[in-house]
């Protein structure tokens, strides 16, 4: 755990999640590991704006279903910037578009330790 915490210490994570309580959990996990958070942000537009404007994003945690929208444009924008990301979602992997099937993926409800390990490998 120590080495993994070190992996994301001081890194800047974008958190996209439309449920505040879940976002709060993700921020706890990141905060305890010493990472910084941009967001959390609950909408597709808000997330795209942050990706566009933020000076530094080292990695991202993306919920997929955002109030009637899906997060994929954000994932595409991050890919363009070579920013790694992981999906944290209630979807099944099979529900994802083909181009994201191999992306790092964790299903809700996620184990905090597992989330941390996944994020430290990004």
């Amino acid at each position: 755990m120590v080495s993994e915490e070190a992996d994301i210490f001081d890194k800047v994570f974008l958190v996209v999640e439309d449920e505040y309580l879940v976002a709060a959990d993700i921020m706890d996990v990141l905060g305890r590991a010493g990472a910084d958070v941009i967001g959390p942000v609950s909408s597709l537009e808000g997330a795209l704006k942050l990706v566009d404007e933020a000076e530094q994003i080292d990695a991202a945690v993306l919920d997929i279903h955002l109030r009637g929208a899906e997060v994929y444009p954000v994932a595409d924008a991050l890919s363009l910037r070579n920013v790694p990301f992981a999906f944290l979602t209630a979807y099944d992997r099979g529900d994802l578009p083909e181009r994201f099937r191999q992306a790092p993926f964790l299903q809700k409800p996620a184990d905090p330790d597992e989330l941390l390990q996944l994020l430290s490998r990004l």
Binding site: E19, L21, A24, H65, K108
Partner: protein
Amino acid sequence: MTAPDMPQSSLLAPKSDDLLRVVFESAVDFAIFSLDPQGRVTSWNTGAERVLGFTEADILGQSGDIIFIEEDRKAGVPALERADARAHGRAEDERWQMRKDGTRFWASGLTMPLSDGSGFVKILRDRTESHRAGQKLTENEERFRLLATNIPQLVFRCLADGSRTWGSPQWVDYSGLDQPQSLGLGWLNAVHPEDRALTLAAWQAAANTGECYVEHRVRRASDDAYRWHQTRALPVLTAFGEPSGDWIGTMTDIHELRALKDRQDVLVAELQHRTRNLLAVVQSVASQTLRSSASMESFGAEFSSRLRALSRVQGLVARAAETISLRDLIEGELRAHGAASRMEAVQAEGPPVTVPTLGAQALGLALHELATNAIKYGALSQENGMLRILWTLEENAGERVVLLEWREEGVSMPADGAPRRKGYGRELIERALPYQLNAKTDLQFLDDGIRCLIRVPLP
């Protein structure tokens, strides 16, 4: 070895007249008799006696017309038959004939003129059994035709490879393809282009499985709509259980059924999605509760109380489509605490307002925290305390906003400022509601109790 005692066998080699006589008499299944030019009987074999019931003595010299049924006699059939035989050398027909006892039987008959001009020979055979079987077959075919052309399914006959030999009138009507257009694999033109390969594969598989089953879209000629059909076909077996080479099948419209099933699949996926999200929220409530709990006992009590609040909101959300009633949400929360509090000190009033289900969870949990604190430390924990929950609906410039005020009065606030600590309720009000509902919130700790303002813009 020899047989010297055997005479030169006259039995084995009779004279030809005798031979004819033997044949004539031993053909017991055939009525063979002769008639003079006027139709009177001149000879009558054993078969005739058997088949028609008249003995030779009965009928010799009598008119042979007696074996015709009355209708035929009146219509002059016997004479016509003889005239026909004379004209063409033979007259063959099948008709009902009559026995001595008046019963009828179906006979196939052949009448030929005798070459010496002395009359006619007539041969009759009782074909009643096969006639009945034939009639039954016709009836069966008619029954099949009625069934195949009147059931709501499209019916077809084909070979083992799906090559069609017949389509019912419903098929022709539905697909707009007439019989010649449907024959062979012509019917495939009415199947959706994307489903044709699948359909052919089903027929290929049918050769092995002995059954064809495929669901595919079939074009309805009346409106060019492709509708889902279930096609099933089975080989037709002979009476001996052998494949006849003929297949028979039906195509059933399952479009609505399929739409329902698709909708069910969507709902199941949606339910699974919601359940996982809810579990993630439960996990969050558990971890947040755990962090602020001094002991496992207090964790247990608080967590289960919050779970029940979550469950109440779920109950409302599950019954609603897009929005839920704010009054239901507030009253549900108050009722849940009713037994443990002074409800007479509570006033809850406001117009009918609905809030988006998306934010209902956070709002329900926030109200739950407010109510719990009111019972533990606030207006509902003290004799002089009063709780007023008032909400209004404001509309200006096309924007609709719900303004909710939670006001506790007559409360002597604790000196240690315990409720002011950054607790779960405060996080929900100050952070979750703005995040989830775009709400503006203000939580004030006044001298005589708390005041919480929640401003929720409605979509």
